[in-house]
Assembly symmetry: C2
Homo-oligomer: 463 residues x 2
């Protein structure tokens, strides 16, 4: 009843919400650029003031770099508490000349708003703000306790968030966490993400001779560090597309038959994908479909390589140094610590005498799988059905989102909702980033419905 | 008799020759720098004027870039003609801060003159000028006809020389050619170089997806061009250090037993070499000594590699592009054209669908072996014995010197002398390049003796 009135109110205010979003999108809160620090601060204040105005108790916390906005409305004693995570910072807009309209002058075309941050994450996160506003306007209170955690460092790897969360874990306590930073499976196919891959990221630095050598005078005498690096990289994968590190697959959970069937039904259009990527053929681990390979199977990629001469023409040297960045995407139940040790051991064993190698671990994050029969997930599925007019599909994401692991670990809850209203072709991180205003609207409706659905499945609390 | 008087004259004038050399070394004739073009021209004029003054008919030819100095003294009818090749241009002196004294302010310390070009090639080539001057002063004529070909583009790859030589092949006609750009085996061990390795140099450019991709979203779906490149490079060599291209060794001449023995007697100090290079171990083709591997066996090296992200930290991309420079050192009787075709075919066969590859040939030069029982070589050996007081050793050079092939091809002679008076540790191309003044002096004596020895072995002409 209240939900129906709320949804009607949301429909009636659709245009105002869009205008407010445009104001938010005009703030160039690029977190990585020092010269935008005051804009980032302005975006934090914009969010804080907005939440305060609609009735939230709001506080802006300083960190070493960009502020964290924390806000709460906890007037539903006995009801569960929902923590909404979002970020108000954005990626750099470059390359600027590829934008049809300027990145911080939001422009509406064909139902989309185009601007940096439109979908990632200003537009998506703002739906929750408008949802609580609408419910408060209709009912004077919220059916659950709601907390907002909105950071300004997501696009630079959330360096302050771990410490902040540990220091404020009591304040942040919640029964359910919703993370606004995901997306639909494709436009018109809303989704709940229930799995993430983990990440192990290494840098390899090889040193052969003390300086670059004349390849005529020394060719045939010593190990060339680029050749050694190529030999190592080649041995990391086998011909069937598998990762060749001993024990790499030991802890990989097999896909269940039902899950493989469900993935199959999602219909990944391979020929459209090949055209989009400009490649003649896809490839990968034998025995698995592309959808399985990109989300539920571990993989290894070289992210970059360097060494020796790369200028114009011919320079006949044996390089002194070579290096590469190598990363692995992990799946449940692979443990990054175990995988990292195996990687290091394997790479060291492949390095011959005459070449020194430094192996530096740059990043590690565990994989994640959310139990789908969890009541919070079921509540979210119903909310999306209300907001979008169709039930969500369940998907696994191939990327790694370290903040999710952080939430799980620090806030000790398994009720994590990985939701998003945009679409994979919205161009997050690319020029001409966009967000469809229909999706923005459906997102606000879904967010409002989520409050009521969580309230009704109160058993989510003690789970 | 005349030779003895000439050698005495050379000894008597030693100090004056050094002072003249210092004047030559002061001219910063760096051929690769456009802003040094007038200095390069000044060096050409210095050489031309010098040769004219001592009685040579001299001409400075323009080319598209830097001039060629041609000079001749052909008053010995019936005697053979010797063509002396040298270059008056020098390498850039950078890094400047590593020089103890400025590169174009020659400084004498411990018997060495330190300056850019001291050994490569001003000092070495100038010995021939002083030699003919001394002979002319003593005898009023030369025992052979002598031509000088002195270019100003050697350090930028002699781009004009081929055309110049073809257009002036009649003028350049000679029975014996001596190239002043080599060196002793080591200081105190004078040498005649009788073999050169050839060179095949390629650039590989690989293209995977149209743009860099998120390795989370696409890892496991497509060929990573860096991985493909590493796989290709790894397959180019086998575990025993051999080049794995099919047919690569088909035309390689085996080393004769006597040559292996001779190479063994040259005594390459492996532990000193390892210390100099800063490596724990040497490596290379199994079954051959380091000396054989670095001069008489073919090899393959990656000269450079690039692709994807090489900045600080972690960037989780699958690179769109990757590339490498790959070169092979060839030995007699390998034909670069045949090797190039085999390389291309092999690399293409290793490239999977889903990745495009461009293979660009950047350089090709055939290997060279001079017959040692050739009368010109024997004459040079006797001349060196006179100049240095000990007979030369015979060595093969691991590098490739395309101008030698050019001489052989355009001037259609097999009587090519690859001589040099400096030492491998003189630092050609490095900071603090130097030339020992004793070697400069012995070089002038050797060059003078060479004229007489060639005159005496007149049968070099019709060979």
């Amino acid at each position: 009843m209240i939900l129906q009135t709320t949804l009607a109110k949301i429909d009636a205010n659709r245009q105002r919400y869009v205008e407010e979003l445009l104001g938010f999108l005009k703030i160039p809160s690029v977190s990585t650029y020092t010269h935008h620090a005051s804009d980032v601060r302005r975006a934090a204040e914009w969010v804080g003031n907005h939440l305060q105005r609609i009735g939230f108790e709001t506080r802006i916390y300083r960190t070493e770099r960009h502020p964290v906005v924390f806000a709460q409305h906890c007037n539903a004693p006995g009801a569960p508490t929902l923590l909404v995570y979002g970020h108000y910072d954005v990626q750099p807009p470059e390359p600027l000349d590829e934008w049809l309209t300027p990145p911080f002058s939001p422009s509406i075309r064909d139902g989309y708003v185009y601007a940096r941050g439109a979908t990632d994450d200003k537009g998506q996160f703002f739906t929750y703000v408008k949802a609580v506003e609408a419910v408060l306007a209709v009912a004077g209170n919220l059916p659950v306790n709601v907390k907002f955690l909105v950071e300004g460092e997501e696009e630079i790897g959330s360096p302050s968030l771990g410490r902040f969360m540990r220091e404020h874990s009591h304040e942040l306590k919640a029964d359910v966490i919703t993370i606004s930073d995901f997306s639909q499976f494709s436009r018109g196919v809303p989704a709940i993400t229930y799995g993430l891959r983990g990440l192990s990221y290494f840098q390899l630095d090889l040193q052969g001779p003390r300086f670059d050598l004349h390849s005529g005078s020394f060719g045939g005498l010593i190990h060339n560090p680029v050749q050694v690096l190529a030999d190592i990289l080649a041995r990391l994968k086998s011909a069937d597309g598998k990762v060749a590190i001993p024990g790499f697959y030991d802890d990989v959970l097999d896909l269940e038959e039902w899950e493989r069937k469900e993935m199959d039904s999602l219909h990944l259009d391979e020929s459209a994908l090949k055209e989009y990527l400009g490649v003649e053929a896809l490839t990968g681990e034998k025995g698995y479909t592309p959808m399985e390979r990109k989300t539920a199977r571990p993989t290894l990629d070289v992210n970059g390589i360097w060494g020796g001469f790369s200028g114009e023409g011919a320079k006949t040297i044996i390089p002194s140094k070579a290096g590469a960045k190598v990363s692995m995407r992990l799946v449940p139940d692979q443990d990054p610590a175990v995988i990292n040790a195996r990687f290091e051991e394997f790479v060291r064993a492949l390095t011959p005498p005459g070449v020194k190698i430094d192996i530096t671990e740059l990043n590690a994050a565990g994989p994640l799988l959310v139990t789908r029969d969890n009541r919070a997930v079921q509540a979210a599925a119903r909310a999306i059905d209300i907001g979008f007019g169709k039930p969500p599909v369940f998907i696994r994401e191939g990327g790694s989102i370290p903040i999710v692991n952080l939430m799980k670990e620090v806030l000790t809850t398994r009720n994590i909702l990985m939701l998003g209203w945009g679409s994979p072709d919205d161009g997050a991180h690319s020029p001409n980033e966009r967000f469809h205003l229909d999706d923005f609207h459906r997102g606000i409706r879904s967010a409002a419905a989520l409050l009521f659905e969580i309230a009704e499945s109160r058993s989510t609390r003690p789970e």
